[in-house]
Amino acid sequence: MRTDPEVRPTTEPRVLRYGLIAVAVAFLSLFVVMPLIAVFAQALEKGWSVYWAAITEPDALAAIRLTLVATGIAVPLNLVFGLAAAWAIARFQFRGKNVLITLIDLPFAVSPVIAGLIYVLIFGAQGWFGPWLDRHDFKIIFAVPGIVLATVFVTFPFVARELIPLMQAQGTEEEEAALVLGAGGWQIFRRVTLPNIKWSLLYGVILCAARAMGEFGAVSVVSGHIRGETNTMPLHVEILYNEYNFAAAFAVASLLALVALVTLGAKRLLERKVRQDYAEAAATVGLEG
């Protein structure tokens, strides 16, 4: 319950309040605001033409394309998974449910470098399928499929994590009502379930996409760093930076920073809607069941 500090009888003395605010603002400025500004400042340091050239240069465009392709495959896959897992977990009772939920969170706990490593162990030259892939002249590691796989892994939980708690809070009554009224499985899903989860779903997709575009460690391991072919935007940034081509590196980085800002904006907008959904769920299912 937030109450106006001016009105509450128990508030810190003004000096302490201002002091704490100053500390918090200083901390945030130092650690968050300055790096953000640095990205854009350095990107534009040499002027607009250099900036524009950096992001339209063929290798940069290829990196952008590859980032979008990987994201475009990873997000729908994890979206379908998120919906399926949320339906199974939130609409049914079965043993081991909590184990399943914890397992879904695993990719969050794993270092991104390890996320890349595991696919190298399976599909790399010395991996389980290495010789087989070699024989059929099909490359996964150091090629696009590997990048897609690593991206899928690191963004695995995002949609499911947004949907599961909401659908659990909403309960099964509306779906049951639809069933008794004669609706079939897909009809129930399309007309009743989806509209009720649309904001959380959208938010989960945005988070998933933003993370997919920005993933560095995992993709770095499986990529092979071949300019123009197996570099995503973050990897391209690294290459430019290591060549001391700072303006170009920050130019490409600024695009990614913009994506991050869009994500933050979306969060702000959707947060209220999602909170409303939770409040409505609590209200209708609330009382004794």
Binding site: M1, A24, V110, P234, L261
Partner: protein, 279 residues
Amino acid sequence: MPNQGFRRASILPGFWPTFGFSILYLSLIVLVPLSAVFLKTATSSWSHFWGAIASPGVVASYRLSFGASLAAAAVNAVFGLVVAWVLVRYRFPGKRLADALVDLPFALPTAVAGIALTSLYTENGWIGRWLAPFGIRVAFTRLGVFVALVFIGLPFVVRSVQPVLEDVDPQLEEAAASLGAGRWLTFVRVVFPILRPALLTGFAMAFARALGEYGSVIFISGNMPMRTEITPLLIVTRLEQYDYTGATAIALVMLVASFALLLTINLLEWRSRRYAEAA
């Protein structure tokens, strides 16, 4: 018709397709690949394994990764608490912006954060130039690693403490005040115990994230052997040298630590939920 056993019968359709697909997808993308780490290590001899994970360079990296992550998480615990407090309880211009920006380290790609932080803290950087006269060097030192880990752990404590702080019953503090307690005492005895579980959870999450962090750190660390190499970097260098066994061995150590942390975090969250329900 069986009532218990695996699952309770339900009339909603679609259990087996969704459950089956989820398990299949989870196994193919997450479980089987992760198992590769364990299986690969099983094939190497113990001495080989020990050599891979206990060589001096690797141990130095453990010390750095662990130490810097712990320190960074601790700093985030303190300042994150202040930030959460200020955001929940006070009003000031730009508060909504500040609240939104707290999530930036979580949303910003790690490579972008890495090069931004490096450029700030080099000797000519906006911050680095103020510290240089004092002999304080951040970029390419362990201090730089620490700074980067503070950055990426920032949101965890704030977002963990905020909801709990928002739900603190103002009547508790009013009661303490009416009984004669000053603000500091009220905070220490009444409010902080309520926040402690969430603070611990946030701390653990920041710590876990810092341990595995790669992109934000490798630019600013300088990657000097025995000095500023973090453990994830060692995995990458082993891979680049095609030493898969070595890489996997180190990865196993990291995985065990991550899973232990994940379990701890889940336990902490479970306990804090029980505390909240009892209250």
